[in-house]
């Protein structure tokens, strides 16, 4: 097909625009990666001498190690509890009509629009009024509330795509509801449940604002430990930690993309 000079110009300016936006998205990551190898203890760009010592410090700084394990504990508990509670509830709203159905659904989806500081403040005040200590269970509860909408949505979408005739077939062959649930419904929902869990886990591991309110020094998660670090120190340790973070996340996403198709999970594939 022949293209006019105008169309060609449009095509190339479009490409340059996309490249410029991609550069904007990538720039902070590139800058942080270069700064992480800076030998000096203050942030100067570009670095004059190079070193790996900030990576060592990132691994040996006790608050980061503690924050990582706290964060992992909170993430595993919160996303697993949210998976059980949220997918069971999604099943109920998908299949049944019951009293307070819409009200309950509205309440549980509301953390999508309530600012996280309001959730954090509310959980903190509630804990102090009921004399619940500021331990890990409190952090886990706040995280369950925040990731529940994502699990509910992912399970609900999977239920929409589930062929109900498979359950009817099992039922007509005499299977009890419990047996149908465990041998037909749940196995068919596994991909949706897994992607819901994964999404919840990633969000929970990175949640910062509400966690800042509800955690104490003993229960702080990695993002909170990082925030406290950047307020106290100006050395590139956090740059080194950010590089590890970016590399691990991008690797996980690339793997997820090649095995599961990220486009499908995020619903951006062309039809």
């Amino acid at each position: 097909m022949k293209r006019s000079p105008g169309a060609l110009l449009l095509r190339w300016s479009g490409r340059i625009l996309v490249a410029a936006v991609l550069l904007f998205v990538l720039l902070p990551g590139i800058v942080v990666a270069i700064s992480a190898f800076n030998d000096r203890a203050i942030l100067v760009f570009p670095p004059q001498s190079w070193s790996l010592r900030w990576f060592w410090r990132a691994f040996s700084y006790p608050d980061f190690a503690k924050g990582f394990w706290n964060g992992l504990t909170v993430t595993v508990w919160a996303s697993s509890i949210a998976l059980v509670v949220g997918s069971a509830f999604a099943f109920a709203i998908h299949r049944y009509k019951f009293a307070l159905r819409n009200l309950l659904e509205g309440i549980l989806l509301s953390p999508l629009i309530i600012p996280h500081y309001t959730i954090g403040l509310g959980v903190l005040i509630l804990a102090s009024q009921t004399n619940v200590g500021r331990g890990l269970p409190l952090v886990i509860f706040a995280h369950v509330v925040m990731v529940l909408p994502f699990v509910m949505r992912s399970t609900y979408i999977s239920l929409e795509n589930l062929d109900i005739r498979l359950e009817l077939a099992a039922s007509s062959l005499g299977a009890t509801p419990l047996r149908i649930l465990f041998t037909v419904t749940i196995p068919l929902l596994i991909p949706g449940l897994l992607s819901g869990w994964l999404f919840a886990a990633i969000l929970s591991f990175n949640e910062f604002t509400a966690t800042l309110f509800v955690s104490s020094h003993a229960t702080q998660t990695l993002p909170v430990a990082m925030y406290n670090y950047v307020r106290e120190f100006a050395d590139p340790t956090l740059a080194a930690l950010s590089v590890i973070y970016i590399v691990v996340t991008a690797t996980l996403l690339t793997i997820a993309n090649s095995f599961l198709g990220l486009g499908k999970i995020l619903n951006v594939d062309a039809h």
Binding site: F91, A92, L104, L126, V145, N206, T209, L238, L253, A270
Partner: protein
């Protein structure tokens, strides 16, 4: 036979979580109308004083600043994210597709602290941008970018980009391309096809992305706190300051109630303003 097996078992745990969430929100409401006892987490008698205090210029200004910041962020994010979402959906090269997808989605999973920290290195006086501009001779001394509203907006645009790209791409991928082909065959140029077909049809994604970007920015804390460095005060930084520096939880609670109401109102307003456009998109 029970026609609704497991109903109780499946609803009660969710019901418990909902009750606890409502209790937490009621606790915020209840604190917002109580007097503050300096130096204590306890609160005293009922009062409207906290809400009255919000009319003071310092707090009114913080609200205005926050709304402005959210609006600017959402506009710039939309302008930058649209070409990326368009390229993501329309490119024929699957390698480029995966690249754009990974690059634009990875930041979503990095969390606010990592991303804000990277921007501190980009914007600092000895940071990347100032060094680059000095070396190129475009500047003779560093320009202050940290601790300014402009710096906060740049970083917030970066933070809200991924979710905007995802929402725009979802809308663009659901457009029936036969409409575009029909317009082309009737002689419309590419610019006209885009402006009269593609753009209006992607309106649901634009509205969803814009309101989400707005709500996210409203809720952002690490970015205005670290990049603003106390010189850009927003609702979120004020709430944290009131809660954890002066332990004035009642006032922090009333601020977050007004903040919540304001953010809901703006999102509702946006949806309403966009509904004629969406109807247009639905009928074309």
């Amino acid at each position: 036979m029970n026609t609704r097996p497991f109903l109780g078992w499946f609803v009660s745990p969710a019901g418990l979580v909902a009750v606890a969430l409502v209790a937490a929100m009621l606790a915020v409401f209840q604190y917002s109308v109580r007097a503050y006892i300096p130096g204590s987490l306890e609160v005293s008698e009922f009062t409207w004083q906290n809400f009255a205090a919000m009319l003071r210029p310092l707090y009114a200004l913080a609200f205005w600043n926050t709304v402005l910041l959210c609006f600017e962020t959402a506009v710039f994010t939309l302008i930058l994210a649209y070409p990326l979402a368009y390229a993501l959906v329309r490119t024929n090269s699957s390698a480029l597709r995966s690249f754009i997808l990974i690059v634009s989605v990875t930041p979503l999973f990095l969390g606010e602290v990592v991303r804000t920290y990277s921007w501190m290195i980009v914007l600092g006086n000895n940071g990347f941008l100032n060094t680059l501009l000095l070396k190129l001779g475009l500047l003779d001394r560093p320009v202050q970018m940290m601790f300014t509203a402009g710096g906060v907006v740049a970083a917030l645009v970066h933070v809200t980009m991924p979710i905007m790209v995802i929402m725009l791409a979802a809308a663009l991928s659901h457009i029936d391309r036969n409409y575009e082909k029909a317009a082309e065959s009737l002689g419309a140029g590419p610019v006209r096809v885009f402006l009269t077909i593609t753009l209006p049809l992607s309106m649901p994604g634009i509205v969803a992305g814009f309101s989400t970007a707005f709500a996210w920015t409203f809720s952002a804390f690490a970015t205005p706190q670290l990049i603003g460095g106390g010189r850009v005060s927003t609702v979120s930084t004020l709430i944290y300051q009131l809660g954890f520096s002066s332990f004035n939880f009642p006032f922090a609670a009333s601020l977050s109630i007004i903040g919540l109401a304001l953010s809901l109102a703006v999102v509702a307003l946006l949806k309403k303003a966009a509904s004629p456009l969406e109807r247009m998109a639905a009928t074309t």
